[in-house]
């Protein structure tokens, strides 16, 4: 063995060994790259300011305001005046101690939130004193600021993402905000913009020590869009005002465009309640009110029998099916026998003979029963008849979701042959069996939104545009989405019905809705309704209902109003509709006596009845 080669031999051996080891670590094994990135690179989001929301006239409805979190870095804390700090923040010393212990447990070097969402006033005081508290600092955050107390049901609200949001959409991270309801939810992607990302180099204590690769991997922020709504906030607020101490709703639509001018639900709430530190507490109170249901949007989610306004649709269908002409006369003797021993009452006096026009403004039950029978019986079987009838109604947007741009709603219900075949058997029913449908009772269910929509279709003489709330995104109108949808009823058939609706206001059941110099068309409704009370089906006072549009020619507004348990249509719903039309078309309301009556009127006593525990009378 050559001693001279011993050390060189070892050297060569070790050099080769190390080179192979290096090759293994650096070239063949690639999991070290990602390990090192997890280790040393930190990603921080940059948020665009959330978009503003305006009404149709450019009035600012929703903006943002700064909020502040009090943060602490445990490592940097020094002894401080605990009492003074807790008094400023209006928290208990125990709360502060607990929070500081929690953050110490989380990390002594990283900041944690001690008190979240401090209001601007407290922040002002705190900001001057914060230098006395080393280790504490205030962090800016942004939260929603509402410039209106109305329209909470349309605007919706934002809240922090929860675990199911995180699962659904990888975009979000813990602690971020997401549109939870209303416009905030539906147009979330436009309102939030797209957050950017900044990558930082961190050190072994997770502290940021600089940009990572000079920021070349950073993602730019995409600014958020502002949303302009079709809403007229003055009309909306006025509607909500008229509904004080009442329950119900209004849907007002501009017929030619399908733009929703107002969507009132009562009772509602101040949108500012769902912002800031007391958000969850306020939300709990609203959610737990299961009687008045302030979070329930009656305009979109409530399904009622449509009542008398529905007669206008049956008239149109009969005209289209050619089973009725405007001149057709039917006798009414204070009602009629639609089957052996089955009498349907009507408020016409004995010996009345109505044509279509007078039948509409007198709301003659008998006339529309005959009309409905003719529709159904025009076909060999009632099954075919009713399915044809349903097809026409579907073309008015009934019986299904309308597809408007809010995240909630109900489809309503239009019965067809399969329902009655199931209930009565295939040969067990005929037109008289289902005669309630003639006058908008029976099995039909509609939402106020659907009623406003078919009113708009009547006002348009045969078409509607899908109702919607968004007028433009950052000033860009999104027109392509909104085209005319023609009904299956030809335009010529509408004039008689419209004339009848005009007469309803001029000389019929809703003379209270007459406005000087404006030709208002309308139709009242009085809808029977029942609830389950202690397991008993109990009838409550009728709902007051009214559909209307104005002016008669070239209509600008169509609406559906209903007032829960308001008794007959002209009592509450018609005056409210009339006042809103006046407000919208004239900008001012001259009939202050009517306005006062509506503002001061309260139905709270009526709503207490079923819960009073004592027997009560209805319709008084």
């Amino acid at each position: 063995m050559n001693r001279k080669l011993l050390l060189p031999g070892f050297t060569v051996f070790v050099a080769l060994l190390f080179a192979f080891r290096l090759g293994y670590l650096q070239i063949s094994s690639n999991n070290y790259q990602s390990l090192s990135e997890n280790n040393a690179v930190i990603e921080r989001p940059v948020y665009p300011e959330r978009g503003y929301i305006y009404d149709r006239n450019g009035t600012l409805l929703v903006a943002n305001q700064p909020a502040f979190d009090l943060m602490a870095i445990p490592e940097q804390l020094k002894a401080f005046d605990t009492l003074a700090l807790t008094q400023m923040l209006r928290i208990t010393p125990e709360f502060l101690t607990k929070k500081l212990n929690d953050s110490r447990r989380y990390s002594v070097k990283l900041p944690s939130v001690v008190v979240a969402q401090i209001d601007p006033k407290t922040h002002g005081i705190l900001q001057e004193k914060i230098w006395k508290y080393p280790g504490f600092y205030l962090q800016d955050k942004s939260q929603r600021a509402y410039h209106t107390q109305a329209a909470a049901n349309i605007l919706g609200y934002v809240s922090e993402v929860n675990t199911s949001d995180l699962k659904k959409d990888a975009y979000y991270q813990m602690g971020e905000l997401i549109g939870r309801q209303g416009i905030e939810k539906y147009y979330e992607k436009y309102l939030r913009g797209t957050k950017g990302k900044v990558y930082y180099q961190k050190d072994k204590f997770n502290r940021i020590i600089g940009d990572y690769q000079d920021g070349q991997n950073n993602l730019e922020v995409t600014q958020a869009n502002d949303i302009y709504l079709t809403l007229d906030i003055d009309l909306q607020a006025y509607g909500e005002q008229l509904f004080q101490n009442k329950r119900g709703g209004v849907v007002a639509i501009e017929p030619a465009t399908g733009e929703v001018l107002a969507l009132v639900t009562a009772p509602s709430f101040d949108p500012q309640l769902l912002v800031g530190r007391s958000r969850s507490e306020n939300f709990r109170v609203l959610r737990n009110d299961t009687v008045a249901k302030p979070l329930f949007d009656r305009g979109l989610q409530a399904q009622y029998a449509p009542g008398s306004p529905f007669k206008t649709l049956n008239a149109l269908i009969a005209l289209q099916e050619n089973t009725l002409s405007p001149e057709t006369l039917f006798p009414c003797d204070g009602g009629h026998y639609y089957a052996k021993g089955a009498f349907m009452e009507c408020h016409c006096s004995v010996g009345t003979r109505n044509n279509l026009l007078s039948a509409i403004y007198n709301s003659c039950n008998t006339y529309f029963s005959y009309t409905y029978r003719r529709i159904i019986e025009a076909y060999p079987t009632p099954q075919e008849g009713i399915n044809q009838w349903k097809k026409h109604l579907n073309s008015f947007g009934l019986g299904n979701y309308l597809g408007y741009d809010l995240p909630i709603g109900q489809p309503g219900y239009i019965p067809d042959a399969s329902l009655y075949d199931r209930v009565y058997g295939e040969r067990g029913w005929k037109a008289p069996t289902i005669i309630s449908n003639a006058i908008g009772q029976g099995e039909i269910l509609t939402t106020p939104m659907q009623m406003a929509n078919f009113t708009a279709a009547i006002a348009n003489r045969g078409f509607y545009v899908k109702p919607h709330f968004m007028k433009s995104i950052s000033g860009e109108p999104q027109l392509s989405e909104y085209e005319k949808k023609w009904t299956t009823v030809d335009s010529i058939h509408f004039e008689t019905v419209i004339e009848g609706m005009h007469k309803v206001v001029e000389q019929g059941t809703a003379r209270v809705a007459r406005i000087k110099d404006i030709e208002v068309c309308g139709k009242t409704g009085t809808v029977e309704n029942f609830i389950l009370l202690d397991g008993q089906k109990t009838q409550l006072t009728d709902h007051s209902m009214f559909i209307a549009f104005a002016p008669k020619d070239n209509p600008k507004i169509a609406l559906a109003v209903f007032v829960e348990n308001g008794y007959w249509g002209a009592r509450w719903a018609a005056p409210i509709a009339s006042l809103m039309i006046e407000k919208y078309l004239n900008k001012t309301v001259k009939r202050s006596w009517l306005e006062q009556r509506m503002l001061n009127g309260s139905l709270e006593a009526e709503y207490q009845k079923p819960y009073s525990g004592v027997p009560f009378k209805i319709n008084e």
Partner: protein
Amino acid sequence: MNNSIFLRLDWLSLLLYLSLAVFGIVNIYSATYVEGQTDLFNLQTPVGKQSLFFVLGLIGGGLILFLNIKIFDHLSTPFYFLMILLLVSLFFFGKTISGARSWFSVGGFGLQPSEFAKIGTALFLAKILSNFQTNLKTPKSLLQVSGILLTPMFLIVLQPDPGSALVYLAFFFVLLREGLNLGFLFVLLAAVGLFLGTLLLEIPVMVSIVVLLLVMVFLLLKKRRYKPKILPFVGIGTLAVAFVFSVNFIFNRVFEQRHRDRFNIILGKTVDTQGIGYNINQSKIAIGAGGFGGKGFLNGTQTKGNFVPAQHTDYIFSTIGEEWGFVGGVIVILLFAALIIRIVYQAEKQTNTFRRAYAYGVASVIFFHFFINTGMALGMVPTIGIPLPFISYGGSSLLAFSLMIFIYLNMDANRLNEW
């Protein structure tokens, strides 16, 4: 010999040395870089200090080149004892840094006598070996050289700085070159093999392997009609088995947990990325993240984030691996290998035992440091805190290695000069 020393100089070794030292400063700059740092040669920063010691080394080295070759021969004995004296006086005047009393504080700089003691030991050992009375086959000489090596080792262990003490084992190569029985090497390798084997495998398995190996060798020899005696084999076997048992006993009973951990992590018996294994794991991540071409100067995220502890001193190789990649790592390995082999190659040309033994000492010490330090950064050798020569941050280390190299250069240049 009127030729200027520059014509006879081993320029290759000098170049290798300069490359390593400059590359070291570059990497110390990166490893200690703070965003926004501008002053390059502030003497308060590690880069500034290292640069200062580099310059001091060059000045001192320049002076050494013009010294008469005989001086080293004459001064080796007093220099060695001076170093021993310094090591002893550390216990009275030394400064304690991170638990070890290894430093003298001189005008704001810390000096580490154990680094310079290597030069003294290399010179003195060479001097003794070149003595015609010395014969490594005799117990007397063996005792003598053992004393020379064990005295500084003992003093350094007491500081306590066992890593630096271990470096003196490097001189084993010098002894082997100068006539030590190769049996010692065999016994050492066998001992290391048995030691690692015992840690990795169960005792019965190890015993079986020892017995099987001996029987095979015995039968092999017998087949070749060589008449082996059974007794030596039985003796060796008994010793080996006894060693295995004692290793097991020492490892489990005498070692402290932290010592056991260092071995267990390297051998892959424990997975630990937070405690003691943190250094090794972070170092491997840093090196692995470098890839083929590296992340580039000042772009190592591990390095910038200070994830690898002691990354400008003992773990400087992790910064090299991360920022310069496989290419940079291999170049550093090649530079070291070339320097070591070049010194040995030149040493073999010496006809004078003193100079050859000294050159061998230099090569051996560099090799040992390189092997332990780089192996540690690559996760192949247990954590032993000694610097990477010329590269790791540390004034004493850089200065001592520089002087060591320049003494070698002087001796090499005056190879043909008889005294």
